[in-house]
């Protein structure tokens, strides 16, 4: 063994009593306004999508003209994104836990079909049928959650499988029958409840739109100001760490998927209000649209980061683009192309902010 020069053993720690106690301050740089902005944007994850939303409104307003700024047009955008808003809320919960739910659209449609068929095929009172729809949504969510949390399968795969299973069940069960709007409004207007509206001036707000906004606000509160919400973020961030820290990870995961299922069922009910009838072929693009809203809303697909308000702004951005481009009169394919660009650039901006500011 080489000779050691100091045999004082532990004694060197004696000096610690005199060690400096000042707080290390690394932060003596001048901050430019741009940096301040970045910091602001970074600490408010919903700020970027909000700014993009306002900017796209302004730009389309300039191009399309005053028509675009009519209360009617603006509330129309809300009506058109209401369904995506609901499904996106469900998707947000799941994505915050670092999952992804490809079955949201299928659950929504199956729930709405159950609400309709239970009323018209079996003659249940609409109230009971609606409850049955919610039960189906919750059950689908529970299966998803149990497979993810208990069997520990990757959410992408579980919901990919469940998507196919639920959609096939939906077609097999409904025998592809549409229930007509007129029949519903005659014998079970409750099913169309969310189609009712309040008009203020030219603005038309359906109950569905109002409920969507309230739901998102409520979820925003729950996610940020209750234990459950914090646990959702923690589970998405690092499930092992959360488990060791004492979070009931399995229970949290299952509750998130069940919640998502319930919200999808609610979306199914709202869907009846929007399209009037009960159609088993509706909502085919709800998956992609909800994921798009979540992504443009700045929520990380890796879980644990982002705000549900961002999702709502994301959905509205897509709505503004779609309506705006149509009013300009472009080929619908251009809309898809632009939305594709929007998805990529939204995330690129988000990345940029995150990189520079801490």
């Amino acid at each position: 063994m080489p000779d050691t020069t100091d045999k004082a053993g532990e004694d060197f720690e004696q000096v610690l009593d005199q060690s400096a106690t000042e707080v290390a301050s690394f932060d003596h740089r001048h901050h430019t306004p741009l940096e301040r902005l970045q910091h602001l944007l970074h600490s408010n994850p919903a700020a970027v999508p909000l700014i993009v939303l306002v900017m796209s409104l302004l730009i389309f307003g300039l191009i399309v003209g005053s028509k675009f700024f009519s209360p009617f047009a603006l509330t129309l955008i809300l009506q058109q994104v209401a369904i995506v808003g609901f499904v996106g809320a469900a998707q947000t919960l799941v994505i915050l836990t670092a999952g992804i739910d490809l079955s949201v659209g299928a659950i929504m449609v199956l729930s709405s079909v159950v609400m309709g068929q239970f009323t018209f095929r079996y003659g249940f009172p609409p109230e009971i049928a609606v409850l049955c729809g919610f039960a189906v949504g919750a059950a689908c969510g529970f299966i998803n959650g149990a497979l993810v949390a208990l069997v520990r399968l990757p959410p992408f795969i579980v919901t990919l499988g469940m998507w196919q299973i639920i959609l096939a069940s939906n077609f097999l069960y409904s025998a592809n029958e549409t229930i007509r709007s007129q029949d519903i409004s005659q014998s079970a207007p409750l099913l169309q409840f969310f189609g009712n509206k309040i008009s203020i001036g030219g603005a038309v707000l359906t109950f569905g739109v109002i409920t969507m906004v309230l739901l998102v606000l409520a979820l925003n509160y729950v996610l940020n100001h209750t234990s459950w919400g914090r646990h959702v973020y923690a589970v998405g961030d690092d499930p092992d760490a959360a488990e060791l820290a004492g979070v009931r990870v399995k229970r949290t995961l299952i509750s998130v998927y069940v919640c998502a299922g319930l919200i999808c069922a609610l979306a199914g009910w709202v869907l009846i209000g929007r399209i009037g009838s009960v159609s088993p072929t509706a909502g085919q693009f709800a998956n992609i649209e909800s994921i798009t809203a979540v992504v443009i809303g700045g929520i990380s697909l890796f879980g644990g980061r982002g705000s549900i308000l961002g999702m709502m702004f994301g959905a509205l951005i897509v709505g503004v683009f779609s309506l705006g481009l149509r009013m300009i009169g472009t080929d619908p394919q251009w809309t898809y192309l632009l939305i594709g660009l929007l998805i990529i650039s939204a995330v690129a901006i988000d990345q940029w902010i995150r990189k520079i500011s801490v």
Partner: protein
């Protein structure tokens, strides 16, 4: 040995095809034919249809009834089946070229469109020249059914078609715009909202089918215009005919999928028995299974049946 037959539809979720399948199944049972049905996942899913044709060949079926998603693209697969000795009958949608199939049992979709076009023009009378028309089409890929109905409607309404193989290239100022609906309620509503946004004065709405029409009606109802707009459609499904009776849709062109399917099964049975092939309707290069205008507000010069009769003949 039992005779095998295949029915291949575009999807198995659209009521039109569901009904077609019911008709075929009933007829097959009656004639003692073993029928297997296949479908694409969505409209436009041609690969699934190719795979289905191949399965029928392996399976030793005698004939195939098909509503093709990709009328040009499916031709080589159809040829393969015919080479293997199967009778291939195109239902509802002609292949391109039409003689790629042994026979075609179809609605004249152009005529179907023309009837509702004429009806709409006649109903409006002099106002027709100031009409503001919304065109709710099927899909951006412009499948032939959608094009034929759309162009037929415009022809009937008296609008210059430009290229009759394409919608959207017309420059008549009466057309407010074309929007796609995917043939369902959701698409119908959004498309209608968008066109209303472009021009709130729309007073004629052409729709590709009745679910799209129902969606468009919801959008009109939302702005309180459901009573002063003329909606026309194509299909003649029972919910659609009921919607005419309820005043949701003004008129629709009814087609007969059950008839197509049962005639198809009979043709396959005949082919299996003694090799006879079906013949075309005179003057047309396909067997026309007929189309009828259903409306409760008949106009002069356009033959039509009322909703009562329509209900008797309806499907879905």
């Amino acid at each position: 040995e039992t005779i095998g037959a295949c029915l291949i539809t575009k999807t198995d979720t659209n009521p039109f095809f569901v009904k077609m399948k019911e008709g075929a199944t009933a007829k097959a049972k009656e004639l003692g034919i073993e029928l297997k049905s296949y479908a694409g996942r969505i409209d436009g899913d041609s690969e699934s249809q190719v795979a289905a044709i191949e399965t029928c060949i392996v399976d030793g079926a005698k004939g195939i009834l098909i509503t093709a998603s990709d009328t040009k693209g499916i031709v080589p697969a159809v040829q393969q089946a015919r080479d293997a000795g199967l009778l291939v009958i195109a239902l509802d949608t002609p292949l391109e070229p039409i003689d790629s199939a042994d026979a075609t049992f179809a609605t004249d979709n152009f005529l179907a469109g023309e009837l509702i076009g004429q009806w709409a023009a006649a109903t409006l009378g002099d106002e027709a020249k100031n009409a503001k028309i919304a065109m709710l089409d099927l899909a951006v890929s412009q499948p032939s059914v959608g094009v034929l109905r759309d162009q037929g409607f415009l022809q009937g309404f008296g609008i210059d078609l430009k290229d009759p193989g394409k919608w959207g290239d017309e420059d008549d100022p009466r057309i407010v715009g074309n929007e796609v609906t995917a043939g369902n309620e959701e698409g119908g509503r959004t498309a209608m909202e968008n066109l209303l946004q472009k021009d709130p004065g729309i007073n004629v709405v052409y729709t590709i089918n009745e679910p799209a029409a129902a969606g468009a009606y919801e959008a009109l109802k939302a702005v309180g215009r459901e009573n002063d707009v003329l909606i026309v459609s194509v299909d003649g499904g029972c919910p659609g005919v009921q919607n005419i009776a309820d005043g949701v849709i003004g008129a629709t062109s009814q087609q007969y999928p059950l008839l197509m399917a049962s005639l198809g099964i009979e043709a396959i049975a005949a082919w299996a028995k003694d090799g006879t092939k079906p013949t075309n309707t005179e003057g047309k290069d396909f067997f026309d299974t007929g189309v009828a205008l259903v409306t409760d507000q008949p106009v002069d010069g356009v033959p039509s049946i009322d909703t009562k009769e329509g209900m008797d003949k309806c499907w879905g």
